[in-house]
């Protein structure tokens, strides 16, 4: 099965894929193309991937979620040129109850953003284009965290820096 799709994402198909009589709830996350980024008006987004690795890592994330919670996970990511409001990523997680469905859905989308080799190029209303680099935003957030840590006690400092190391080293 392919997690990457050149065609518009079929969310209803994804719901059908994870549905079963014993599963009483489905949590869904759909990521859409937004019309602005960092104060600039966005007109389109172009998604590209390192496909063999993206497929492998996506399958691993789904398997991890299905091992950790009693759920069935459906995941698709769109590639190509997308307009505002189009679905770029869809996660559907079905479980017997909502708690595991919400938890696994959150896990899957966060891990997809962190580990799957996909990139987007934004085209702005002024005609210019730029690759999106989330680490620029991450650096700003990381500096804020460092400042918070500096004002806390030493024990808290060690825990926070250890978490940060893990976060940057693990996919």
């Amino acid at each position: 099965m392919s997690f990457l799709s050149a065609e518009a994402l079929d969310v209803n198909g994804l719901l059908a894929e994870v549905s079963a009589p014993g599963r009483g709830g489905i949590a869904v996350f759909i990521g859409l193309v937004r019309d602005h980024q960092a104060g600039r008006r966005v007109e389109r987004l172009g998604y590209s991937a390192y496909a063999p690795m993206a497929e492998l890592v996506s399958a691993e994330i789904v398997a991890e979620a299905e091992r950790r919670w009693p759920v069935r996970v459906g995941l698709r990511h769109r590639l190509g040129d997308l307009g505002i409001g189009e679905a770029a990523v869809a996660v559907a997680v079905a479980g017997a109850h909502r708690d595991e469905a919400f938890a696994a859905c959150r896990y899957v989308i966060e891990e997809v953003k962190r580990r799957v080799p996909i990139w987007k190029r934004e085209r702005y209303a002024d005609g210019t284009e730029e690759w999106v680099d989330p680490t620029r935003q991450e650096i700003a957030r990381s500096e804020e965290r460092d400042q918070e840590v500096a004002s806390s006690e030493k024990r808290g400092q060690e825990v926070a820096s250890s978490e940060k190391r893990e976060g940057s080293a693990v996919w």
């Binding site: 590209s48 690795m53 799957v116 080799p117 996909i118 996919w171």
Partner: protein, 88 residues
């Protein structure tokens, strides 16, 4: 014994997204005459025209797995240089 290949061994590195734009190519071949690590490959690519803009957020994947700087790389490995990920 088969004769040694006439060409020097190289590691082919696939370039993606912004890095392909920076170097103006979809891949580059890095000489690998001796033991070579991920860090060696990265340093070599950064020395190429356009390569100096490859920042600290660059990731290297070897055989579809993220690799650490000290990991050895050989000709025949599938190596890819990846900009910071931006899916979703």
């Amino acid at each position: 014994m088969p004769a040694s290949p006439a060409v020097s061994p190289v590691i082919r590195v696939q370039l993606y997204a912004r890095f392909a734009d920076l170097l103006g190519a979809s891949h580059v071949d890095v000489p690998a005459s001796g033991p070579t690590t991920v860090a060696d490959v990265l340093a070599r690519i950064r020395s190429l025209p356009g390569g100096s803009a490859i920042g600290a957020g660059a990731l290297v994947a070897v055989n579809l797995r993220q690799a650490r700087p000290e990991q050895p790389v050989s000709p025949g490995d599938e190596v890819a240089l990846l900009p910071p990920l931006a899916g979703g």
